[in-house]
Symmetry: C2
Subunit: 229 residues, 2 copies
């Protein structure tokens, strides 16, 4: 290998797809870009400093730009096409961050908005995402429409064999709540009994013994994630 400082270096950033499910819909948190800069709405992100790891950078963006912490996040993919950022050569490492809806709603102030995220099924290749708020579509900056399309596709693929759905739920939850999260991500209805069976057979969750409160009809049992055993 050659000396590390011989050539001009690209900039490296992390971009965060911070997602949740609210009212049966998949949402993502975007920031409105300032005037005079690149137009539209974008995922929050920040540059990776030479003394920070990727994870540290993610946590810094979450804290400083979004004002939340303690959320589950995982790396998805890295985008480095030339010209994807008109201001210069930027390579973006995209992370998926998941948290419950109430946390995100409090974070959606000022230039931050929580918007609906729509991605077609279209022969399991996905395609770019569309975002809208109160009926009107918003335009996405950079290549973020393509990225968010990929993000949703990966989310759908991981749903069955990972435990990401629980990252979108509070500590205790009903089986119906889990199903609603799955339906929002997959954008299609699921039938209850097989869903319950598969979920319980996976052995990831256990009943707490408590029941859902406040409902008008028969209360559902509350479950929680098993601790690792």
């Amino acid at each position: 290998m050659t000396d590390l400082s011989t050539y001009a270096k690209p900039s490296v950033a992390v971009d965060l797809a911070i997602m949740t499910v609210l009212d049966g819909r998949l949402k993502v948190l975007l920031v409105r870009r300032p005037e005079g800069d690149v137009a539209g709405y974008a995922m929050p992100g920040g540059f990776v400093r030479i003394e920070d790891s990727l994870e540290t950078t993610v946590e810094r963006v979450l804290a400083e730009k979004v004002g939340i912490d303690d959320v589950h996040f995982e790396q998805l993919a890295t985008y480095g096409t030339l010209g994807r950022d008109p201001r210069g050569r930027v390579i973006s490492i995209v992370y998926l961050a998941l948290c419950s809806a109430d946390t995100l709603q409090t974070a959606a102030t000022g230039g931050r908005v929580l918007v609906n995220l729509l991605v077609d099924w279209s022969d399991q290749i996905g395609g770019p995402a569309r975002v809208n708020r109160e009926g009107s579509d918003l335009s996405l900056s950079f290549d973020h429409a393509d990225i968010l399309g990929d993000v949703v596709q990966r989310l759908r693929g991981k749903l069955d064999y990972s435990s990401i759905a629980f990252a979108l739920l509070p500590d205790t939850f009903t089986l119906r709540a889990v199903q609603e999260v799955h339906e929002a991500i997959l954008a299609r209805p699921l039938t209850k009994p097989p869903f319950r069976r598969k979920l319980l057979d996976r052995g990831l969750i256990q009943p707490t013994g408590a029941l859902e409160a406040g409902g008008a009809f028969r209360p559902a049992a509350l479950y929680e994630l098993k601790s690792k055993d």
Copy 2:
């Protein structure tokens, strides 16, 4: 966002896990690192120049450092832990590259070696990889043992729903050859009839009409990938 040139930038590299199946074993192409540098064997890689896209960099490494082209490759993950390269801050974007065994064998000259790659199953979490050649283990540079562990895990996961297995085979192949590739990657035997059925039911391949030549017993039918329809 801030000005792109305010802070010192990390270096960005691509590292290639160039893999094949030979004699029923999963192999990876490594380069012996020069004396006086970081010790051990490593994946071939190169720095991402500011005027090159990630894909261009991959193709450059394949051509200049390995001497092959026209191989299937796809991005896997990005590694950016502090201290993973003792020479400086390097973020590595890891690509998986797959090609047929004969291509790789001709490339394995000089400092390049084609070695066995072993990763335990261990409760589907993977763990670090081990590599050996002619019975003796080789030591891996940097964090490449951990990376190669992740690589094999991803390879195993994608085997059933993607067409990566065919990237390891010549243009026409027998069903048995496909099964051998799967068995080498999964490191366990598979039963023939269900494997054949699932493979054919997926509709990705079609018989060419020709038969395998040179064998001592009943020749198998040759298949090829269907063109996209």
